[in-house]
Symmetry: C2
Subunit: 271 residues, 2 copies
């Protein structure tokens, strides 16, 4: 049988942990994969842990007990996160991004895997200390980011629909008032989509008055579930009265000025 060297083992362990963030990996799966002793694998993990610490690229936690093992918690160094928020502000200040009606075109960014992955790392890190069962989002544009956060936190994603769909089976629908233009809107979620009594966070790409976030909190009540946190990519801070107050964002949209330029700043997360 092939004998793996320490170099090979540590690199493979890093890969398997990074690909399964926030999931407990039992040491037995490594001893079997490499046909190595538990003490050997423990030393390997020590090296992987030390490497992550030195490079500030996430961390490894040990989970004791029979069902225990190690798990990888993702993270982005503070200065990289700051740099990222600044570059996002720059990208969004391009004049061509303001569309008729003073909307900010975000779609290319929230569909760019590199950009979404980093935003996901920032939001997942911010919520890594709370225990949640689900990451919730509402279709459509927040889905890639919410998926990335759910993957990094090792939990299921739940996508709330704008209308009831026949493929979803029995659903719960609520009406809510969109905060900015005061229109009555609908959101709908299959009863199969989540267990009652769950904890979750809500992730979206953009917040104006917070009507959607407020609607999600309401909808979660129908599932006897609680929204423990809200994470947003771009917060329009121009809107004075928000319907929710406890949330974090990555960048703040300060204004769209008279010349049609958007002015943005990294959020208070980076101050």
């Amino acid at each position: 049988m092939y004998k793996f060297s320490r170099n090979q083992r540590v690199s493979a362990i890093m890969k398997l942990l990074v690909e399964n963030p926030n999931k407990i990996v039992n040491l037995n799966s490594f001893t079997e994969l490499f046909n190595a002793a538990k003490s050997t694998v423990s030393e390997d993990i020590f090296i992987v842990r030390d490497t992550l610490n030195r490079l500030n690229m996430g961390r490894i936690e040990t989970v004791p007990g029979a069902a225990g093992g190690v798990k990888y918690i993702s993270g982005l160094p503070e200065e990289k996160a700051k740099e990222y928020a600044k570059s996002l502000c720059d990208a969004l200040s391009d004049k061509s991004r303001v569309t008729p009606g003073d909307f900010l075109y975000l779609t290319d960014l929230i569909c760019n895997p590199e950009i979404v992955h980093k935003a996901g790392l920032i939001l997942a890190s911010a919520f890594s200390d709370i225990q949640i069962d689900y990451v919730i989002t509402v279709e459509t544009k927040g889905i890639p980011l919410a998926y990335e956060v759910s993957k990094l936190l090792g939990v299921q994603l739940v996508i709330v629909r704008r209308e009831n769909k026949i493929t979803e089976g029995p659903s719960v629908s609520i009406n809510y008032v969109s905060g900015s233009n005061r229109r009555i809107q609908n959101m709908s979620l299959s009863k199969k989509a989540m267990k009652k009594g769950s904890n979750c966070i809500f992730i979206d790409d953009f917040m104006k008055a917070g009507g959607t976030a407020f609607g999600i909190i309401d909808l979660m009540k129908e599932f006897e579930s609680t929204v423990l946190g809200i994470g947003i990519l771009v917060d329009n801070v121009q809107t004075p009265k928000k319907k929710v107050h406890d949330y974090i964002s990555i960048v703040d949209l300060i204004e769209i000025n008279e010349e049609g330029f958007a002015k943005l700043e990294p959020s208070k997360l980076f101050k």
Copy 2:
């Protein structure tokens, strides 16, 4: 200055490559990060490459030239892919999944990051030999899978909308006939969303008669762009006349029988 050991370097290189699939990483970024000679880093990469080969967990390609470097190509061992397709069939055969009207409830699976990641690995591997600019999907349920494939292939995701949205700026809309119930439907894509003359693949969670895929091919013509491949999670092979023929799927839905059970099989990819 801290001197990184080979163990530390190989594990960190593995992490950085795995987190940036199909992206060329210049060796200088490693020599700078570790303050190490290029020859040292080349040896490190040799070890990482060898580890991936031995464990059959993807591969590393060298890209020559001034803008060259190395890139990680993701992959899943054949037997793991087969195992995965079988377990997906089992999960989908649960009676509770058939909703009134004989629809198969997929939503929890296509929102589960572990399941989506593996499906993404299978579809990305199937298309890793063709050069594409975009992964296209249409809202809503295919988005997590299409995002995962776009990330693994290192390209931008494009989400086609069901209706024209004011936040998207000038858009191209087309009508198409849904293959199964022959209803006329709409799809819409912002003109900013993609460059003309692009190559892309279309990814979706479910195919019935292929009307949506056919519509996407039509929409892409409006962008002077070409669909080079189609990848689907679940193909309803019960539908006799498909509107598209050149596509791959992971599992096939054979039938929903009279007792209300869905019968599924791994697709021909695994034969």
